[in-house]
């Protein structure tokens, strides 16, 4: 008999060592997330994957599945929390979708659509953040960075480089690159690196590719992120 947990009453099998997120994904259950990617060490920072495990809130991407857990995922309380978290991500950065070339392919936007987020709720910060367009093939728009660290992890764990890190705490947190000048052009970053393609928002972009697919025909224009995420992430993983 394989071990099982329940998610919203549905019995889900798992193997020892799997997180709740991994067990859920394998069983076709979508748990909203932004900082999680099946190829990389979970980080547990965006908190969108917060689920209730035996009554306690836990991050599904880091929490190990264990026999008999009763997990709540798709309930109003958590959906409301996730919407508020997403609204906070929007107001803490500068996310002007109509002027962003990632629109329609952006996971932050897609999660917001999925949660039926119609407004930002909170007052906007309008933080002053820079754009680093120094690299010949890549650019970083810090306005759109949500500090998920996927680029940090992809660079270290896959590309065998160490291009990115987070610096500062709280509202002063920001993405830094590993060069004396602080510019991306002076790192060993290459446009073929995984780290160049992993950004869930429009913070790291490949130059000269932004409008190859017209707005209106992009990934999330017609497909919800739950289906897209499950289909792609079931092919990854252990």
């Amino acid at each position: 008999m394989s071990k099982t947990i329940t998610i919203d009453g549905k019995t889900i099998p798992f193997e020892d060592g799997q997180t709740i997120m991994q067990a859920a994904t394998a069983a076709d259950v979508y748990i909203p997330h932004l900082c999680h990617h099946p190829d990389y060490t979970p980080h547990g920072s965006c908190k969108l994957c917060t689920v209730k495990v035996n009554g306690r809130n836990c991050s599904a991407c880091t929490f190990p599945a264990a026999e008999g857990q009763d997990v709540l995922n798709n309930i109003k309380e958590l959906t409301d929390d996730r919407q508020k978290i997403t609204q906070m991500l929007f107001v803490e950065g500068n996310h002007f979708c109509p002027s962003c070339e990632k629109t329609g392919n952006c996971q932050l936007q897609a999660v917001a659509y999925h949660l039926n987020m119609l407004d930002d709720h909170f007052p906007l910060f309008y933080p002053h953040r820079n754009v680093d367009a120094s690299h010949p093939d890549l650019m970083i728009d810090h306005n759109r960075c949500i500090f998920c660290t996927l680029c940090v992890r992809a660079s270290r764990e896959h590309d065998d480089k160490d291009v990115f890190a987070l610096s500062g705490r709280g509202i002063n947190k920001h993405l830094i690159v590993n060069s004396i000048s602080g510019l991306l052009k002076d790192t060993d970053m290459d446009m073929h690196d995984h780290a160049a393609h992993i950004c869930p928002t429009g913070a790291i972009l490949i130059k000269r590719t932004g409008y190859q697919v017209p707005i209106g025909e992009r990934i999330y224009d017609h497909q919800e992120i739950d289906a897209v995420s499950l289909a792609t992430e079931q092919q990854h993983g252990e």
């Binding site: 107001v91 002007f96 979708c97 109509p98 002027s99 659509y113 906007l124 002053h128």
Partner: protein, 179 residues
């Protein structure tokens, strides 16, 4: 029909794109006209709104006149709706928030390429600019939000028909776009 629903609309720091999208209702405007009448709106040229059921606000708040207009709408509309990206988060006009106002004015009226007779406009009739463009929910209470740049005519239609038929307005996935 004696008791038509009264709708007012305005564009604050917007581009009238949301109003143009509203006009994309095309022949559905005739159906709508059976049920609603327009109060203050660019469509009617009525200057002030009075006792309206629904107020549709396009654009964020960038100057003192926008604030007065928005407050007039809030005071006179039972239901106030933020229409489009700029009303909801400031939108593209809010991208000036990262540049000091003085620099914006200098670039536009003093130092910009091709400027003749450079001077900062200061006529007393001109509303004063705010230091930052703000979304309208930071100034008054907003009841509903229609995202999009612009929201499509279908969004207006779904929202207004839901309201007119007594349902809580809902926008499903295909109607929610921020771009």
């Amino acid at each position: 029909m004696a008791n038509k629903i009264r709708v007012a609309t305005t564009s604050l720091a917007g581009c009238f794109g949301c109003h143009m999208s509203f006009l994309d209702l095309d022949e559905r405007l005739l159906q709508l006209a059976e049920l609603v009448e327009f109060d203050r709106s660019p469509i009617t040229d009525i200057e002030h709104c009075t006792n309206c059921d629904i107020g549709l606000i396009e654009g964020g708040v960038c100057n003192s006149e926008n604030v007065h207009t928005l407050r007039e709408f809030r005071k006179n509309c039972k239901i106030l709706v933020a229409v489009g990206a700029c009303a909801i988060n400031g939108g593209l006009p809010a991208m000036r928030n990262f540049i000091p106002l003085e620099e914006c004015l200098s670039e536009a009226y003093l130092d910009g390429i091709g400027v003749e007779n450079p001077q900062i406009p200061s006529d007393i009739e001109l509303p004063l600019l705010l230091d930052k463009v703000r979304p309208i929910h930071e100034v008054v209470k907003i009841d509903y939000y229609l995202p999009g740049c612009p929201p499509s005519a279908d969004v207006f239609w779904k929202f207004l028909t839901d309201l007119l038929e007594g349902r809580e307005p809902e926008l499903d996935y295909g109607l929610v776009h921020y771009d």
